[in-house]
């Protein structure tokens, strides 16, 4: 080959590589940016007076005197709205029948949207669901509901040839000349005074319990459940995996049986996680009856099986990397094989094993399929460590799926969805970072 051709080939390969890396980075940014930006929205956002009222009622947080003043100030701004409603209700009685029939249903809807925005009307009986006791707690959502009060979202089907189009019809003109008019002006112009939005840090989103199916509160039970499951899985998988690795490396004789066992471990690593989930249900819960139904124990056992091959392989590699001289020196000094393994090989291999363990832990924390049938529930209390073995638990991965698809009001709790996703990603990232740090320390130690 001519030199110039070789150089050209070389260059085109580097170009391809750079392109691939750039694509990867772009994709990563594309995925992570919205996740991070919106996920942070669960922790830092503009909270309204309704948020502070909710936090005080439900979590006993905030200064009572300040809150009272704030609510009073907000009530003053809200007064024209409720005055308009009361005045219009009376006006409605004296209206001609046709007009009343036209306005009454719209009035009812306006009132419903308004109580979503501001919370229940003063003097009315309180609703049973916590989510309806408060208006919009987040300024961003408050603006959405303001528009729902002011405009009717309807669909225009007049163009015969195509689909309907979304149109926003202002409600104000319908009520021109009636007593309800101040309501629209007030909602349109005075909402910032009414809601008093303020930048709010909600760090305890991470540890708070959820209130009323994630409408308020945080993701504490999910975080705790994920930690239980991941730790529990490692507690089971690490002893098993390390012992197996020692056996493979130090004790077993190479042969047909070993090859078979090794390929079994490799196959185990390739089994889809949902198969583990179903196996866990059939074996641990239905056959072994480790618990009455779903439980952290059953979930941890299933996850342990899932990460076992990774732990075995990482440990094997770490053990194989221990210099032969260490072992030979120990044996020469008269130590038995067991003693050599315990006092020389394992300590030297420990950092490598730990790296594998931490990475597997990240995997266990993020897996969904194995825990659907064995451990995860959509509602449950934070369980104490004593009860965790027999009770099921919410967990980040499964509940993220649950509140994104099965929840009855998906659009109202977007911030929780993104917050949960970000928390899970950060948790796994942090675990992997720990693994990298451990590895860095090891290589430094080996060099020195």
């Amino acid at each position: 080959m001519r030199l110039s051709t070789r150089k050209l080939l070389d260059k085109s390969f580097s170009a391809c590589a750079i392109l691939a890396v750039m694509l990867l980075t772009a994709f990563l940014l594309f995925v992570l940016t919205p996740l991070v930006v919106r996920g942070i929205g669960a922790y830092v956002f503009k909270g309204t007076v309704e948020y502070r009222r909710m936090m005080f009622d439900q979590f006993d947080r905030g200064n009572e005197d300040d809150l009272k003043l704030e609510i009073a100030a907000s009530a003053v701004c809200r007064k024209p709205i409720y005055d308009a409603i009361n005045a219009f209700e009376q006006e409605l009685e004296s209206m001609p029948r046709a007009k009343r029939k036209e306005l009454k249903p719209v009035f009812r809807i306006v009132r419903e949207e308004l109580s979503e925005l501001l919370g229940p009307e003063p003097g009315k009986p309180l609703p049973a669901l916590t989510r309806m006791l408060y208006g919009q707690t987040r300024w961003q959502r408050a603006k959405v509901w303001r528009d729902r009060v002011l405009y009717e979202e309807s669909w225009d089907y007049s163009d015969e040839a195509s689909d309907g189009k979304k149109v926003f019809v202002p409600r104000r003109p319908l009520f021109e000349g009636t007593a309800l008019l101040p309501l629209f002006d007030c909602v349109e112009n005075n909402l910032p005074q009414i809601m008093n939005p303020r930048i709010t840090f909600y760090g305890r989103f991470l540890t708070d319990k959820s209130i009323d199916a994630h409408f308020f509160g945080g993701i504490g039970p999910e975080v705790l459940g994920t930690i239980y499951l991941a730790l529990g899985a490692m507690l089971i998988a690490v002893p098993l995996g390390v012992i197996a690795a020692i056996y493979f490396q130090e004790y077993a004789q190479e042969g047909v049986v070993m090859t078979f066992l090794r390929s079994c471990v490799n196959t185990l690593a390739g089994v889809p996680s949902v198969v583990f989930g179903l196996f866990g249900l059939a074996f641990f819960i239905n056959t072994m009856k480790v618990s009455q139904g779903k439980s952290v124990l059953a979930g941890a056992l299933t996850l342990a099986l899932l990460v076992l091959p990774t732990v075995i392989r990482a440990s094997e590699e770490a053990i194989a990397a221990v210099p032969r001289a260490y072992k030979e020196a120990a044996l020469a000094l008269g130590a038995g094989q067991w003693r050599t393994v315990l006092t020389v090989i394992l300590p030297a291999a420990l950092p490598g094993i730990l790296t594998g363990v931490v990475i597997s832990m990240g995997r266990a924390a993020g897996e969904t399929a194995p825990i659907i049938f064995t451990a995860a529930v959509s509602v449950g209390k934070m369980v104490g460590p004593l009860k965790m073995l027999s009770s099921p638990t919410p967990a980040l991965s499964w509940n993220l799926y649950n509140i994104c698809t099965e929840h009855e009001a998906v659009d109202e709790i977007r911030h929780v969805q993104y917050g949960m996703a970000l928390t899970l990603v950060v948790l796994v990232l942090a675990l992997n970072l720990t693994a990298i740090l451990i590895r860095a320390r090891v290589s430094r130690r080996l060099k020195g």
Binding site: P127, A128, L129, G164, A213, G293, V377, T405, E408
Partner: protein, 272 residues
């Protein structure tokens, strides 16, 4: 060594300390919101109780009740004969409690100009006889058929009320795992048609009138809307007097319970 000691200690601890009362619920995704709201309400009133709710579908709920892995099975349909037989064989006596009434609104994308269908048209769409919206008065667009999975009680009810004994859903239909997923699929797809529980229908989708009747609490109560059903919670045998299960199930007969059901969007038992 320490770790294993800790583990033994934990297991021993679990076996001896069990002061907290537990109630496990599993089953329908339709009954899910009601169960979740009841559970949170009950736990707030009785702090010593831990209630867990999973939403894995009516079929799984019935199985869990049979296996003894749940105390209350939420079902959006009645028990099937096969399930009853299996329970009888295992000596489980299922006890039915009606929680709420529900309609099965047939939903489409709001841009769809079709306002209503007859039951026959819905059946023809699901069997694949009608494949384009223009055949039922809409614009020229292919119909995307969304159904619940076969594990779902909502699916069974739909089959029973709409499809009848021998009609089969066409093969190209999409099956989704929950009510929420059906709604999301429909709100994102212009030609889609689907069905879900009353509590799941919001402004992002358009419920169709069936045989000229709009699905609503009123039409469910006066029994004019044809796709209506009851939602159930099943227990193993009649709950013992004073037991946690009994106290919990009593909630739905109280005014507070009915209010919760209504606020979620279903029709409470006492609705007139």
């Amino acid at each position: 060594m320490k770790k294993s000691l800790l583990l033994v200690g934990l297991i021993a601890g679990v076996m001896t300390v069990n002061a907290e009362q537990k109630l496990v619920m599993d089953g329908s995704t339709t009954v899910g919101p009601i169960a979740k709201a009841f559970a949170e309400y009950y736990m707030r009133e009785n702090p010593g109780v831990n209630i867990t709710v999973s939403e894995s579908g009516s079929g799984n709920g019935a199985k869990a009740l049979l296996n003894g892995s749940c105390d209350i099975a939420n079902l959006s349909r009645d028990l099937k004969d096969a399930e009853k037989a299996a329970m009888k064989e295992k000596g489980v006596e299922p006890c039915k409690h009606v929680v709420a009434f529900d309609a099965l609104p047939v939903i489409v994308h709001p841009s769809n100009r079709v306002k209503g269908l007859t039951i026959d048209q819905v059946r023809d769409i699901y069997t694949g006889k009608i494949t384009n919206w223009k055949e039922v008065g809409g614009s020229d667009r292919k119909i995307v058929v969304i159904s619940r999975d076969t594990n779902s009680g909502t699916f069974e009810t739909f089959m029973h009320l709409v499809m009848g004994e021998d009609a089969k859903i066409k093969e190209s239909a999409e099956y989704t795992g929950s009510n929420g997923a059906v709604r999301q699929r429909v709100q994102m797809t212009k030609g889609a048609i689907g069905y879900a529980g009353l509590g799941f229908v919001d402004r992002s989708v358009k419920p169709l009138s069936i045989n000229g009747i709009e699905p609503s609490a009123d039409t469910v109560v006066d029994k004019t809307y044809p796709l209506a059903r009851e939602l159930y919670m099943f227990t193993k045998g009649t709950p013992a007097k004073g037991s946690l299960v009994e106290k919990f199930l009593d909630l739905m007969k109280t005014e507070k319970g009915e209010e919760i059901v209504e606020e979620i969007g279903f029709v409470p038992l006492g609705a007139k």
